[in-house]
């Protein structure tokens, strides 16, 4: 009888342990971005029309401060794409909200480089930025991940 009780108790203990472990994992998931995120700031656009490179104007990327980035656009062969119309959007996938500001490309810097002004991140965590380029090779879009 004592042995049966021990077994039952042990099973409950194990079950409780597993439950706690799952709970801890779930709590950690609320805050942590996925581990396999591609954090490269060099991406090919989804349709392969462009190579897009993002470069923050301030390193490290600041929190709560409005700042600028540079966007470089080339063809897959590396030819700079000038005269493109670029739109940037984004947000926090785990929080379900967008960017706190509306960043805009305000200047062409030459050689396929563009100034993106009005970028701001108001919290730590996983941010997604999508860069849509309408240029010589048509419209195509690349997505970037950023963990702050």
């Amino acid at each position: 009888m004592a042995a049966i009780l021990n077994r039952v108790a042990l099973l409950w203990l194990l079950l409780a342990g597993v439950t706690i472990a799952c709970g801890v994992a779930a709590a950690a998931m609320m805050m942590s971005p996925p581990k396999d995120l591609d954090l490269s700031l060099r991406q090919s656009s989804a349709g392969g029309a462009y190579k897009i490179v993002l470069e923050p104007g301030t390193d490290p990327v600041p929190l709560r401060q409005i700042h600028s980035w540079t966007i470089s656009v080339t063809t897959p062969a590396g030819v700079p794409v000038d005269g493109a119309v670029i739109a940037v959007d984004g947000g926090m996938p785990q929080h379900g909200h967008g960017l706190p500001t509306k960043p805009q490309v305000t200047k062409e810097l030459g050689h396929g480089r563009y100034l993106l002004e009005g970028v701001k991140f108001n919290m730590s965590g996983w941010w997604k930025l999508s860069v849509r380029v309408n240029g010589t090779k048509g419209t195509d879009e690349a997505t970037f991940n950023l963990v702050l």
Partner: protein, 407 residues
């Protein structure tokens, strides 16, 4: 189950326990915080508050003479329709420059909770809905509000000539002639005041607007240096950051609350940085009050600040357009703005009930119960997720928030 089975189960349990303990030992230091947690806690210390950036929209922001004039104006009840209301009537210095009531009371009653002033020079947006983009533009709003100061622009210009002529002239040059101006005129006042304002020449309106803006700029010079003081939490965070033992600075309950604040409670998502605010706007499903008019929060605030003649890009701002990035790249539309309100600083929050933009909650316990339950927003979409806090956890969060009082 055989004895062999039991033995196997025990081994599995022991292995699981050992793995758990190992992970804890590897990721933590003696104080129980991981390196990431320590960094996060350090980022909330008042010591990390950056030096105040210049305010290019206000050329007297750093002039002590302007701060002296601004302080006098802040406490001057003559800046009102009935001679009884000053900024300090609701922004009481001995109460963190707020009034402790759900809704502000001047000539009448406002529709919002009076906000404290400490640290607001760091905020790109002022008011709960961010309808002003500088401290000086903010100061102008209540002056003309019928339920706050109930003053008007020509009366204020006349008051400056009668009482502050020299102090004003030293900072801004001579005041305009006011004798020929209508007794009471304002573009936002009563129908009679609006009509009087419309009857003025463009030059007179601009001259009076400039005096009005400069009243705000002097008040801002005073408010600019009202900053929060360090708390017991800051002492804890600084000890942790410098490798000293933080032991005993916070109680175990408060430490538990801090752990929830930066973890399961998700509080730090918005209440981040040394002022414990991200300076942004969020819909957290806070219920409206049936006795107040419909309030769309930031959705309306964004429209108002874009049209405000006293904003960063306006003719009474001294800033270059390139200094106005917050306004130029403001998110001005979208569902996220609906019933979104500015994240308030949590410094000294425990001594500042009631809470939320219209004083909806009387205690921190009620606030935390709201965030725990995460009810749906009545309009727009709440950013909250239910937290599943225990009673003990809710109490720990309250305890932690009390450690943010100044020492």
């Amino acid at each position: 189950m055989t004895m062999r089975g039991l033995k196997l189960l025990s081994m599995v349990a022991a292995l699981a326990a050992a793995l758990g303990a190992g992970a804890f030992a590897f990721s933590s230091t003696g104080d129980g915080w991981t390196a990431q947690e320590r960094n996060q806690i350090a980022s909330l210390s008042l010591k990390t508050l950056p030096a105040l950036a210049p305010d290019p929209s206000n050329p007297v922001a750093e002039d002590p003479r302007a701060a002296t004039l601004g302080e006098a104006l802040f406490f001057d009840t003559r800046l009102s329709g009935n001679g009884k209301v000053a900024c300090s009537s609701c922004h009481l210095p001995e109460r963190q420059f707020q009034d402790g009531t759900p809704l502000g009371k001047g000539l009448g009653q406002t529709a919002r909770r009076t906000m404290p002033i400490a640290g607001t020079a760091h905020s790109p947006w002022l008011f709960w809905d961010g309808r002003a983009d500088s401290q000086w533009a903010q100061a102008l709003g209540p002056l003309e509000s019928a339920v706050e100061h109930g003053a008007d622009r020509t009366s204020l210009a006349r008051l400056m000539v009668a009482n502050y002529r020299d102090a004003y002239a030293e900072l801004f040059g001579p005041l305009p002639a006011v004798d020929e101006l209508p007794a009471q005129a304002s573009p936002l006042g009563s129908p009679a005041q609006i009509s009087a304002w419309d009857g003025m020449t463009d030059a007179d309106r601009t001259a009076v607007n400039r005096v009005f803006a400069n009243i705000g700029k002097a008040i801002a010079a005073y408010e600019r240096h009202i900053m929060p003081s360090a708390s017991r939490f800051d002492r804890y965070a600084d000890a942790l950051a410098t490798g000293k033992s933080p032991h005993g600075i916070l109680t175990p309950d408060e430490t538990d609350g801090l752990r929830l604040f930066i973890g399961k409670g998700n509080c730090v998502n918005c209440h981040n940085g040394p002022l414990l605010t991200d300076f942004h706007f969020h819909n957290t499903g806070v219920p409206s009050r049936a006795d107040l008019p419909a309030d769309s929060g930031r959705a309306q605030g964004a429209q108002k600040v874009a049209l405000d003649p006293f904003n960063c890009l306006g003719q009474f701002s001294d800033a270059a357009p390139s200094d106005c990035a917050e306004l130029k790249y403001m998110q001005a539309e979208g569902e996220e703005l609906l019933r979104a309100y500015k994240t308030p600083s949590l410094r000294e929050v425990a001594k500042r009930s009631p809470y939320m933009h219209a004083g909806q909650f009387g205690s921190l316990r009620q606030v935390i119960a709201h965030y725990d339950a995460a009810p749906h927003a009545e309009a727009g979409h709440s950013e909250l997720q239910p937290l599943g806090l225990t009673d003990k956890e809710r109490e720990s969060l309250v305890a932690f928030l009390q450690s943010l009082d100044q020492e």
